[in-house]
Symmetry: C2
Subunit: 225 residues, 2 copies
């Protein structure tokens, strides 16, 4: 059976990405990195998703990126922007950018993948709604695969893990539709940048999610404030 | 002043590499990753080196790679090989290989480098004595730099950090000589794969270090069992 590591934050994108890996027949090891996010609500969602799919060997790795100040996702001093609608989201690299985050996550995933003898890494990165994140662009994934080909034991042996970003070029509506097609438990996923019992509905992540569900012609099962 | 992140394990190679960065005029932020090594002797050495140079902002990051079983450096179940001399060290990838370790370390360094507005990352990787480690090869560093150029905010803005591996092509004797030239406190560094008060003198790392000092025509200031 083909083995894969699937990065799982507990959000919509990574959960759909993991479901996609499962649908392709991979024996999936979920990897969640706890990197000092301001809230732990996502981790709870990740655990519920893992439980839903009955997956074994969920690796939750602590990696405190709070010394990388400046991102709204890890720094108390930087506010998560709130807006009225998704159309207000500006161009450029957002303040929620965490330096080199996907590079770090993929590196850890590559190490784990090599350990389990896996042949693929799945990541729920998306280049459409978040074109501002440099580490969500196709050219980044190509460069990273090349790094694994020359920099790992598996690569030297000719079977470097492939990096799959199945939802990379999908709109949020397409991701929602894929999630529904794959019967993903969307009610277990969490996208909001804030913590709390209910999603805020105002941060960029909530706005994009809500717009996605709307354009997919269905209702988001999450509760919003 | 030019800023750089310098990966510092507390070993001979990373300490000489850091000293080299300082000699080139960089304002250095030392980064030590505590990745679940079997002993903490190296970390103590790293702290002493930082103190010696009076560096500020030493980042010690916990990243538990013990779930990557199989390496003698992180797994109790895998013995650190002991040999009689450096010439007994075999070809190929050693059991002390930790999957994707340098990729992970460099990724974390890249995130920190971006955070401090740095322009360079220094790593004490060496391709001569450890040609068996795929992530110590020049082609790996080139591929990784390309990843940073396309995958980081700094890269998109045209100033991706450069990866410097100043001792990459040096023999251990050359590293020792460079250390002496740069007045590196070699007595503070620790290379042994085992912990303890004194170095074991039998692991690959000790044997290569001792051979290096011998070929450099000087005595290793460390105590050996």
């Amino acid at each position: 059976m083909m083995r894969a590591v699937s990065l799982l934050s507990g959000g919509l994108d990574s959960t759909v990405s993991l479901a996609y890996a499962l649908s392709k027949g991979y024996d999936v090891t979920p990897l969640t990195v706890r990197y000092g996010q301001r809230h732990s609500r996502e981790l709870e969602s990740a655990r519920r998703v893992v439980q839903h799919y009955g997956l074994k060997g969920h690796v939750v790795m602590d990696l405190d990126l709070r010394s990388f100040t400046g991102s709204a996702l890890t720094s108390e001093g930087v506010a998560v922007p709130e807006r009225m609608s998704a159309s207000d989201i500006g161009e450029g690299i957002p303040v929620t950018y965490v330096p080199a985050r996907n590079i770090i996550f993929l590196s850890v995933a590559a190490g784990l993948c090599e350990t389990i003898g896996g042949e693929a890494i799945f990541i729920g990165a998306n280049a459409i709604d978040y074109s501002g994140y440099p580490d969500c662009r196709p050219e980044f994934f190509e460069a990273f695969e090349r790094t694994l080909a020359v920099g790992t034991k598996a690569g030297v042996e000719g079977h470097a893990p492939k990096v799959h970003a199945p939802i990379l070029r999908m709109t949020k509506a397409e991701i929602v539709r894929l999630g529904i097609d794959l019967t993903v438990p969307l009610e277990l996923t969490w996208s909001c940048y804030q913590g709390g019992e209910k999603a805020c509905g105002r941060c960029d992540s909530c706005l994009l999610r809500l717009k996605g569900f709307e354009e997919a012609g269905t209702k988001d099962p999450l509760d919003y404030r």
